[in-house]
Amino acid sequence: MSGAVGREPVFPTRQSLGLMKSKLKGAEIGHSLLKRKSEALTKRFREITRRIDEAKQKMGRVMQIAAFSLAEVSYAVGGDIGYQIQESAKQARFRVRAKQENVSGVFLPQFESYTEEGVNDFGLTGLGKGGQQIQRCRETYARAVETLVELASLQTAFLILDEVIKVVNRRVNAIEHVIIPRTENTIKYINSELDELDREEFYRLKKVSGKKQRDVAQADAEILAARQKAAEKEAENDAPATAAPSTEETEAPDVLGEQEDTDVIF
């Protein structure tokens, strides 16, 4: 697991540990939010899917009725009006406008049909005969097209939602399976590194303090020894007792003296 996911390239410091911890927290909150969003969208999606299914069935019926009303027209007119209709079409009377509906932050388009008033390309079609049937047929078809527009809205919503849900789910999965484990891993890594550092530090301190103790002990021993020597010398003869400090004194200036010499030379 840890090998597959890896970790973030960070320095194992306390600061980055803090960053990672807040990142993990953020990821968890984001995950639950996205999950909820995805659920809401999926709910909506299922609803739309159901409605599409219904609407498609309805469309079948509606279109059949409409086709039948066209049959009535050809019965009444007694001929083919197709070509004439195609040629007299100029301005769309039946148009749609799109508006948006906000579902959990996703803008779904909603087609809304409206009729452009004052546009009537076929007003005189069937003037001699069949005009009433044509009129009725137009109304039937207009209603059919309204159903189609409704269906088109649903379908577009379906496609967009499908896309969005995929994206959201991908994010949810990414957070759940990549970002969170990775952040956790990083935290684990930082923790272990920090612990390691702690241990090293502790050990070092221990070593240092051990050395110090040793040094102190040695120094003490030396002082003790020196004192013992001095005492011994004092005990042996009085002269060396005064000579001993003088040698010590001369030793220190001796070093200084050398430095002074070099200084003098330069």
């Binding site: 059949q64 086709a67 039948f68 009303s69 049959a71 009535e72 050809s74 019965y75 009444a76 007694g78 001929g79 083919d80 070509y83 004439q84 040629e87 007299s88 009537n120 007003g123 005189l124 079609t125 069937g126 003037l127 001699g128 005969k129 069949g130 005009g131 009433q132 049937q133 009129q135 009725r136 109304e139 039937t140 209603r143």
Partner: protein, 362 residues
């Protein structure tokens, strides 16, 4: 007297038409047709009447293909009649085709106006309205050329010349052009029937009646269909044929009518039309406005007109020594094609509940 020499020239044609009339579908045939489950069954039922013409259809043909083949038979029979007729009868038959020619030319005008390739339109033309020089009209690329070719090449020149200029073709709605032409055609036909010496007698009687009815029907329809459109009353009035039972008082009232009640009032002088309006009630107004599903009782004004036309056509066969039987037969045949189309449409689209909405007179 009129029957004395009729058979010399037109006896054969009349005989043939009477034979054709007998092959029209009867009520029995129709009730068989309505029992059909598929278009193939319909085809089978039509077998005796249409024979070879339906043989080329694929299994389960579309209704339009079926109607096309039926029309082919009508056309073939009509062409045979034309080939057999001479003199005034031939002229009479020619007049019958003018109505279809008007439709065809209106089609070509539409195509030319929109700068389409009009050759493609030729196959959409009604075969009965076909005349030899029709393809010549396709050469025209603009409306003025077309107008000139129409004047030169077609028998319809007279109808154009008197009331339409080539600018009109450009500016007026094609439906107005079509109806103007039709009006001129009806008037000319009416005039022809009433002035030609060969037709005094039965032809004049029956054809006058039929044409008057046709003229009235157009006037009424135009009035009804013009409500709510940009067609002004004076323009509308110009489209009324100037004869018929409603002319002149009824036409005048029609031209002033503003709603269905006005139309009903205008035609109330005529018992037949009044009864039509009573039968459908004034709910036709609703029909124009917002009634979607068709009249509840299944009969619209238009259906009643067709019904009346069919009855008149049927009665024509009680007369002898007249080419009017050809007209009647054609109308009956056309109605038959419409009926069969309707029935097969109902079958194809599974809308059996309205399958009985056809008009059968035999």
């Amino acid at each position: 007297m009129e029957g004395l020499f009729f058979n010399v020239n037109a006896g054969y044609v009349e005989g043939i038409v009477r034979g054709y009339r007998n092959s029209l579908l009867t009520g029995q045939n129709y009730s068989n047709l309505t029992q059909c489950e598929t278009i193939d069954d319909v085809k089978l039922q039509l077998g005796p009447a249409y024979g070879d013409f339906l043989a080329a259809l694929p299994p389960n043909p579309s209704t339009s293909a079926l109607a096309g083949k039926m029309t082919d038979k009508l056309v073939a029979e009509f062409r045979y009649l034309t080939a057999q007729s001479t003199g005034s009868t031939a002229k009479f038959l020619e007049y019958l085709t003018y109505g279809y020619m008007i439709d065809n030319i209106a089609l070509l005008i539409t195509g030319t106006l929109h700068e389409r390739d009009t050759r493609e339109l030729l196959e959409r033309c009604h075969p009965l309205g076909w005349f030899e020089t029709l393809p010549v009209l396709c050469v025209a690329t603009n409306i003025e050329e077309l107008y000139n070719s129409v004047l030169i090449e077609t028998p319809l020149a007279a109808y154009f010349k008197s009331s339409l200029s080539h600018q009109d073709l450009d500016e007026l709605n094609i439906e107005i052009v079509r109806n103007t032409l039709f009006k001129n055609y009806l008037e000319d036909f009416y005039n022809f029937i009433n002035t030609h010496p060969d037709f005094s007698g039965p032809t004049q009687d029956v054809m006058s009646e039929i044409l008057q009815f046709e003229a009235d029907r157009r006037s009424i329809n135009i009035t009804l269909n013009s409500f709510g459109t940009e067609l002004s009353k004076p323009e509308r009035r110009k489209l009324y044929p100037e004869f018929g039972k409603l002319y002149p008082e009824g036409s005048l009232m029609l031209s002033r009518a503003e709603d269905v009640e006005g139309v009903a009032l205008a035609v109330s002088a005529n018992a037949d039309y009044k009864s039509f309006f009573d039968a459908v009630g004034l709910n036709q107004g609703g029909g124009l406005g917002g009634m979607g599903g068709g009249p509840a009782d299944g009969k619209s004004l238009e259906d009643l007109f067709y019904q009346k036309e069919m009855e008149m056509s049927k009665l024509v066969f009680t007369r002898q020594f007249t080419p009017a039987v050809v007209y009647a037969w054609m109308k009956l045949k056309e109605q038959e094609i419409r009926n069969v189309t309707w029935i097969s449409e109902c079958i194809a689209q599974n809308q059996k509940e309205r399958i009985g909405n056809f008009i059968s007179v035999f």
